[in-house]
Amino acid sequence: MLEISDLHVSYGQDMVLNGLDLRLSDGESLAVIGESGTGKTTLGLSIMRLTEGKVQGSIRFDEHELLNLSEGEMQAIRWNRVAMVFQNVNNVLNPVHSILEQVAEPMIEHRLRRRGEARTRAGELLEKFGLPRERFSAYPHQLSGGEQQRVLLAMALANDPDLLILDEPLSSLDVTTKEELGDLLRMTDGRHARLVISHDLDTASRLADKLAVLYGGKIVEIGATREILQRPRHPYTRALIRAYPNMTTVKDLQGIKGRMTRPVSGCPFHPRCTQAIDMCSEIIPQLNWSQGRGIACHRGGIATLLSVVNLSKSFGSLKAVDSVNLSIESGETLALVGQSGSGKTTLAKTVIGLYPEFDGIVYLESEEVTSRGKAFYKRVQMIFQNPGESLSHRLSVLESVMEPLEIQSVGNKEQRRGKAIQTIGEVELPQTEDFLDTYPHHLSGGELQRVAIARALVLDPDLLIADEPTSFLDASIGAKILKLLLNLQEHRGLSMLYITHDIAAARKISDRIAVMLDGRIIEEGPSNMIVTAPEQPYTKHLLRSASSLALSGDGALSDSS
């Protein structure tokens, strides 16, 4: 019904929409999401032909090419067949007319109904959207924001349009109103096609079956709403979901590094992308479809950074790690949870190459790792359980952090020093000469672990293996280290293999959790699923015995419901 192809919209030099393609069939609901400034609203206005920008490309609505219609022909379609609810509620309603009149007006204006009939239908619509009859004669300024939004929705539906465009319809409403209006809109499903424009993932998931993610004027990912929200494949989509407060995700909120900039050559997201390659800054990626999902990314979406296939490691007759399969995506945290002796550390040390003899295959970005040389260690780094032991007592803070650079012969001495100091700042340690010359035995546990983290990060690795990095620290300092790791992930796009016995900490920092028992991975899945709906008895046991501050053992919270 609606077919947009190669749509470009620019305001002066500023290209807001940049070759956008979108199709919408009868009765379908599609949400377009993205940060503010990605051109969402411009898209809606362009379909309505209300934008002030320069529009190129094609917007076909049924048999009409909207961009070629005269203003008069457009008038016949606008509000009649295509209706839009605007973002900013306050300015849209006319302050001198009662709301009933305002809802009836488009019907009268388009001569669809006579005045009496129009008023009856307007009353029905308003009632349907939850406004009591006695409020019909109210004026806009007497209504609350939620009530105004109800009026606007009723107005948009007055002429029974074929396409309803909703620009941030529920975003500013409180949650209960949001749910009520969402359900009301859902009841009109199938009667008209719906294009929802929002930055709000919750609105999108309430109102649309399909989801298109817009960034830099292009669609970067499109597919079924549920699937995208559960398993985003484009780095931008994942970042959006990570930044969104909700009750499903258990990981702490993370922002997206950098700010949106325009214009950008190549992929619009590449300056903020954590897995960008050279090609990304040169060539604009096109939407590629597979399995009902379209992704515009040269890397084919979020790439797998490290995978471990059938890895086993024995010490004599003891099988410490038994046929383990794991994969870690770029920019993802995988938590490996299990009690001590379950083989977690052995697995980590095998991957990093401290146990050179093992069975199985390790892939780094689909290339088999055969020998671990400097190239491997430039990309994969590890921080250890006991920072006091992992730092040489004979090296000062600066010398310790510079050591990896020296081994890898990066730059000259001045550059190495500069890089080391910069990284020390990044882990929130002081950069004063005094501190740089301090030896480990004069540092606290938290400072030591930060130095160890700086040392692991100074080579700019892609994967950081963290083996119980907080187990030697008290809770408040441990919490700061976890925050630091999350921030570093946001800024650097680090992938992390986070090893811990503490499932409570794991859920705060990880996207996925793998539970390990006796050298095997017994359960693996998204953190929220593992934490809320574990399948294995051992996982349930871990969750039950995890730290809880509830007073009566099994959780006072659940008792009250």
């Binding site: 491997f376 007592h393 004979r394 081994i407």
Partner: protein
Amino acid sequence: MHIDVKKEIKRSNIGRAGLSLLLLVVVIAVLAPLLSSYDPVQQSAGSLLSPSGSHWLGTNHVGQDIWSQLIYGARTSLLVGFSVGIISLLLGILFGVSAALVGGLYDKIVMRIVDALIVIPMVIVVILVAAYIKPDLPVLILLLSVLSWQGGARVIRAQTLSLKESGHVNVSRTFGASRLYVAWRHIIPDLGPILLVEFIYGVRRAVFIEAGLAFLGIGDPMLISWGMMMRDAMSFSYLNVWQWWLVPAGVALSLTIIGLTFVSHAAESVLDPRLRGAEVA
């Protein structure tokens, strides 16, 4: 693990005594030309003179000044001792560290050689070889070094094996460090106190063996050393010259060795904190 070895040695009485003795011998050896007006090799007066104002310890059977011989003899002892100590320590580090880090067949071969060298009595081998090739000073130093690194190598290997698995050594491997780098930057510095003790052992052994060889008349007869002085003095034991000829050489040798023993004893207590408490008290 942060121990200042120098401070620890200075803190113990025995360590201080040992260091003072050693320092005394070293100063005498270095200042030898200033402390005596006679050339120890040249005949300076009649033979077998008793001590006098000009010849403090008298002269020997060929008229050489015994005091000059005594203080120049310190030079030989220290030169041989410290050279052998350093060279055998370097050999010990080379074989001990490399065996531990490389492992496998190489480790096995090196350790069997070490075992063989430990079993063979070193003094007998040295006497045999020395009697055969009549070594001059550099060859003697080399010979002693080659035959005395095995004990150190074994200790160093054992310690390296345990260090190898420790935190920061492992960590440096995860930056892609080569074995050479790991050995140089992390393992050898961490071996520090052990190396010091092994070095002093080596010096002491070398001083003792050099004196023994000279006493037995093996080695360069032109070289002035305490062992040779004692050997020459023994031939005239029926005269009373032993009082100023034999005894001073023996005492000098004993004091040097005691000094070294004291220092190594103090250094050992650094390695073993259980010994430390008693030392300080």
